[in-house]
């Protein structure tokens, strides 16, 4: 039975938002977005942060994440906002949240934001590629393909034909060979609604054009890492 106390809890329409920036690297890259939501929700309870609960029949701490990433990608700048019932010292909340989460999930800063999470419009990515082919030649091929506004990623969904033009956003991408068999690609892609482009689609498009993954002894020969979040003017989003 839902107690009257629960139903009649004071309903504050403007709970306080506390934003955290965190790093998602190492093994944590295999943790899916949904799993992360669960993890942070429980961590907030463990940390004793005064969370504001949703007002439905199944109250849960209200948590809002920034732009999600695909499983397998790393990030230096992920954002999550907790809704609080009272103001707390951000540094204290940061310390407690870090103590309540696995070592690899590191919250880097906490603050009361003056903008919205949806104000983030772009993200900067780097992709580290390992190849058994000549890195210089492959880098040159990548540069040529990325500057083509019609570069397209095909067959995105299994069984159904679907495609996405990725070249429109890759004009500014840079590619450098960092060793005989390694190269580094950087690019800035949209994260806002309608403009969101998954960096993996760019890599799939490159593979479809060059076949650089073929014959690779491992299936996953590149690692995508989100380096920075940017606002609509491509300035650092915080």
């Amino acid at each position: 039975m839902v107690s009257e106390e629960k139903v009649n809890r004071p309903c504050d329409n403007t709970p306080i938002r506390l934003r955290f920036r965190f790093r998602k690297v190492g093994r944590l890259r295999y943790v899916s977005h949904l799993e992360l939501v669960r993890t942070v929700s429980k961590a907030a309870t463990r940390a004793g942060i005064p969370c504001w609960f949703t007002q439905g029949f199944n109250p849960v701490p209200k948590i809002v994440f920034g732009t999600p990433m695909s499983v397998g990608m790393e990030s230096e700048c992920e954002f999550v906002e907790l809704r609080l019932t009272e103001r707390v010292e951000p540094a204290d909340a940061l310390e407690r949240l870090n103590a309540a989460t696995p070592a690899e999930l590191t919250f880097l800063e906490a603050y009361y934001p003056d903008n919205k999470l949806t104000d983030q419009c772009f993200a900067q990515y780097e992709v580290l590629v390992r190849t058994d082919k000549n890195a210089e030649n492959l880098a040159a091929a990548f540069r040529r393909l990325l500057s083509d506004p019609n570069l397209t990623c095909r067959n995105l969904t299994h069984g159904k034909a679907s495609e996405r033009v990725v070249g429109r956003q890759t004009g500014d991408a840079t590619v450098v060979a960092t060793g005989k068999n390694t190269l580094r690609l950087t690019m800035t892609l949209g994260t806002s609604q309608g403009e969101f482009l998954n960096p993996d689609y760019v890599m799939i498009a490159l593979d479809q054009a060059t076949g650089f993954l073929e014959g690779s002894p491992i299936e996953n020969a590149y690692l995508i890492r989100r380096l920075a979040a940017l606002d609509k003017d491509k300035k650092t989003f915080r």
Partner: protein
């Protein structure tokens, strides 16, 4: 370097499998130790996928107990999901433990928990993925000692040839002792696999199958078990924890990122069961009844809440409403859970001890339905199985649930029980229909809008250490005919009928009452596409019949034959506390349609009080 290469290959495939987080570890509260500091490396294998295995309380308890020993490091290993298993074989990546990322072959002792007979091939598949030879006799000194544990070890004969040793009963102390025996023999320089196993066989509660010879009669039944040494026991008595309040309990369980099947705090109220249902193995093998105190439970719940952040506490036991201090416990818990949005859930409720007061205490209202298990459709058959539940109890309990707003009720039944007739099956349909009618008799302002009664029917599987251990299972065709017959009897549109695949139950019956001659068929199952037989979508009955046929096994001999009362049973080597005489008495009472009162009412002399412990009901111990 070798490890780097292996990890590299592992990470290479993780992006293309489902739920990759299950294969990398790194969760909150995982235990890491320095290899240089530990003397015994222990791996606990749960032969199921991560999301199922991580929910298992037994595994959490053993992880806690073993890691509490400073010189032992226990790590977790799960079976990969089929997609991951295929990739591992394709890329030749051995199965590794989550904490260290080391392959199973690096460990000293590998414990495998056997929860369900259909997981036997999964366990063998795990050995294959780890590069460990399946048969104990083929494993030299370089391989880990393989220990089996869990409920299936009450008759582990079908897998006896694959395991070096079985831990019988509760493993909290036992597995630490085994690890220390290993350490001491290594340090003294007296360790060889053979010497270790001989020493282990002398420890209480350890069964070393290779040290017992089995001979057979001409009719295929067992003639005798013969110990190979004079100094090992003729019968292995299970271990129990005397006082559960003093036993280690995992207060910082490893918290998975992903959602597992039981994603909540688990409080174990007591072990054993006062009821004596004649088909139920758990009700016999976990005796004697030992309860934890409400104070201890409340303290552990509070600690678990603070450490885990879960918003639900599940009070578990074989029959939660039979816990003698259930009101006191729920009062204590509710004093702090409600205001923190933490709900209590009580699975395993019995209709006769289910009250409105209890219903009010469980805030599981919003979480859908409630489940009861009348098990049989008529009073006669319920008396035969000693369920001791009356129809009016059930309808009263259902009424309480409706009045609290529940709209969906699930009723568990079993079919194929000894002495069952079509009248008993009709009784199931009638009982379900009556349960629907109670809804319409419930005042409108109390009840929900709509009602659904789900009838879920499983097939009777005779299990070792039950009063029905000797009974043959109905032939497959009979089981299937009964399922369809019941389907025709259920005409109420508010009743939903589900039934288990009778073919699975038949194979389960073969394995449950099987002996060592089944081993070759299990190897075929593990290697020829039936490794995940516990999953209905991977179970293929015809394949199983083929494995049995090719290895000379007659499934009817094990599943459908009525075993002789004086026959040597494959599990006669094991003493689970409850005596064979008691089970024979119970069997006779079943056929006389006589019930036996619960331990709370009267001691029936099952024999389990011999094992001692801080028992709740055994009057002989008072």
């Amino acid at each position: 370097m070798e490890q780097m290469d292996r990890l590299d290959r592992l990470h290479g495939i993780l992006k293309s499998v489902s739920e990759p987080a299950a294969y990398v570890g790194g969760e909150l509260y995982e235990v890491k130790k320095d290899k240089a500091d530990v003397k015994v490396r222990n791996a606990t294998v749960f032969p199921e996928i991560y999301s199922i295995g991580m929910s298992n309380l037994g595994m959490r308890i053993l992880y806690e107990c073993l890691n509490a020993a400073p010189d032992v490091w226990c790590e977790r290993v799960f079976a990969p999901a089929p997609d991951m298993g295929e990739k591992m074989q394709e890329y030749k990546i051995p199965l590794t433990a989550l904490e260290s990322g080391d392959p199973l072959t690096d460990f000293d002792i590998v414990g495998v928990t056997l929860q369900y007979e259909m997981c036997y091939p999964t366990a063998l598949h795990v050995f294959d993925l780890a590069g460990i030879p399946l048969y104990s006799r083929d494993r030299g000194e370089e391989y880990p000692i393989i220990v089996g544990g869990g409920p299936c070890t009450y008759n582990a004969e079908p897998v006896a040839d694959f395991f070096d040793v079985f831990s019988i009963g509760e493993g909290e102390d036992a597995l630490v002792e085994l690890s220390h025996l290993y350490r001491d023999m290594k340090e003294a320089g007296t360790y060889t696999k053979a010497a270790f196993l001989h020493a282990a066989a002398k420890l209480p509660g350890f069964y070393v199958p290779s040290l017992y010879d089995v001979s057979y009669n001409d009719d295929g039944t067992i003639r005798a078990f013969t110990p190979l040494y004079d100094d090992i026991p003729m019968k292995i008595t299970k271990r129990i924890i005397g006082n559960l309040d003093d036993a280690p309990y995992p207060l910082k369980p490893v918290i998975p990122y992903s959602e597992t099947v039981h994603d909540r705090i688990v409080l174990e109220l007591y072990r054993g069961c006062i009821r004596g249902c004649r088909f139920c193995q758990a009700g016999m093998v976990y005796r004697p009844i030992r309860e934890k105190s409400p104070e201890k439970l409340c303290e552990q719940a509070r600690c678990l809440y603070e450490n885990t952040g879960y918003d639900e506490i599940s009070l578990i036991s074989l029959s939660t409403s039979d816990y003698s201090k259930i009101d006191e416990l729920t009062d204590k818990l509710l004093s702090w859970t409600d205001e923190r949005n933490v709900s209590l859930s009580l699975p395993s409720l019995r209709v006769d001890s289910f009250t409105k007061e209890l219903m009010d205490r469980i805030s599981g209202v919003r979480r859908g339905g409630i489940t009861f298990a009348p098990e049989a459709g008529t009073q006669r058959l319920r008396d035969v199985i000693n369920k001791n539940v009356r129809e009016e109890d059930l309808l009263r309990a259902v009424g309480i649930a409706y009045a609290a707003g529940k709209e969906s009720v699930k009723l568990y039944f079993m079919q194929g029980l000894p002495t069952e007739t079509h009248e008993d099956l009709c009784g199931i349909a009638k009982l379900a229909s009556d349960a629907v009618h109670v809804f319409y008799e419930t005042p409108k302002e109390q009840r929900g809008r709509n009602v659904r009664v789900t009838v879920s029917v499983s097939c009777f599987v005779p299990k070792p250490f039950t009063a029905f251990q000797w009974e043959g299972q109905d032939p497959l065709e009979v089981l299937q005919e009964k399922q369809l017959y019941l389907k025709d009897q259920i005409t109420d549109r508010k009743v939903v009928y589900h039934y288990h695949d009778a073919k699975v139950s038949r194979v389960e019956a073969v394995l449950a009452r099987g002996d060592r001659r089944l081993a070759p068929s299990l190897v075929l199952a593990a290697r020829e596409g039936s490794a995940y037989s516990a999953w209905s979508e991977h179970f293929d009955y015809d394949k199983w019949m083929d494995y049995f046929a090719r290895t000379g096994v007659d499934p009817a001999f094990y599943a459908n034959r009525t075993f002789g009362l004086d026959e040597v049973l494959p599990w006669d080597l094991i003493d689970c506390g409850v005596t064979k005489d008691y089970l024979k008495r119970e069997r006779a009472r079943a056929y006389a349609e006589k019930t036996t009162p619960s331990c709370a009412e009267h001691c029936n002399g099952c024999g389990a009080d011999r094992l001692g412990g801080n028992t709740r009901w055994c009057p002989k111990k008072k």
